[in-house]
Amino acid sequence: MIVWCVIFGFIAGIVGGMGMGGGTLLVPLLSLLDIPQRQMQAINLISFLPMCAVALIFHFKNKLVVTKNIGFTVIPACLSSLGGAVLAQNLDNGLLKILFGIFILVVGIRMMVQSFRKKKLKCVKGNVHDRQLNVAANLPHRSHRSS
């Protein structure tokens, strides 16, 4: 059990370290071990903390963290997270599991759709670029013909 926890933590950690939300992957992996949903959520929250703190230090050093106006989001988010967490302590594990399942299904589908959309955009950009290159390449040729 403990070995599997380390392995699943490691896999989800790799995804998390790449900035893709390792936490959302950790819970479905841990659910293979039949750990109750609320326990998995506790594990997810606590294991996220050390990595989050370390990553933040690096991001601050690289000046990627923006603090302007961020209080408008942080303060209400802290209050509602308290409400959400208290509510989770009082809900049935089965219901929590269903909610989480719906959530990652939506996030997964959205991510899949987006990955195809981004590729399409790149293709379109590439074509435009190619066309411009062709036009540029044809210009001296045409002018040569006309003269």
């Binding site: 790449m18 690096f58 942080v74 209400p76 959400g84 909610l99």
Partner: protein, 119 residues
């Protein structure tokens, strides 16, 4: 920042925080959307800044879950793996094709979601 935007920032924060507390994670998805959409941050800055938003609310929710009762053996072993994996992931970040990784991740989430809902 206009008053309308401020209201939306507060509403988005409320939603992200609530999801993160209720499900023990996942609030980051909402917060990143909010930071790119309303704060106008680039994807990279939004991801970095989202951590700053999520850290304090994760501490708060974690305390609630710990009071509710946490199995420390599982917590510590998973955290150890997660932290080491996180360092490996950060090192690999620019060495793997990100679209492919993203799709594999999306597939795992979809499979995980179906399993959690129906099995």
């Amino acid at each position: 920042m206009t008053a309308n935007k401020k209201v939306l920032c507060v509403a988005g924060g409320l939603l992200g925080g609530f999801i993160n507390g209720l499900m023990g994670g996942g609030g980051g998805v909402v917060i990143v959307l909010l930071l790119t959409g309303l704060y106008g941050l680039s994807a990279k800055k939004a991801q970095a800044t989202a951590l700053l938003v999520i850290l304090p609310l994760t501490v708060i929710s974690a305390v609630v879950y710990i009071i509710g009762g946490a199995d420390w053996g599982n917590v510590l072993s998973t955290s150890a793996g997660f932290t080491v994996g996180g360092a490996v992931g950060a090192l690999l970040l620019n060495k793997l094709p990100s679209v492919a990784v993203r799709r594999i991740f999306a597939l795992l989430l979809i499979a995980g979601g179906i399993r959690m809902l129906f099995f």
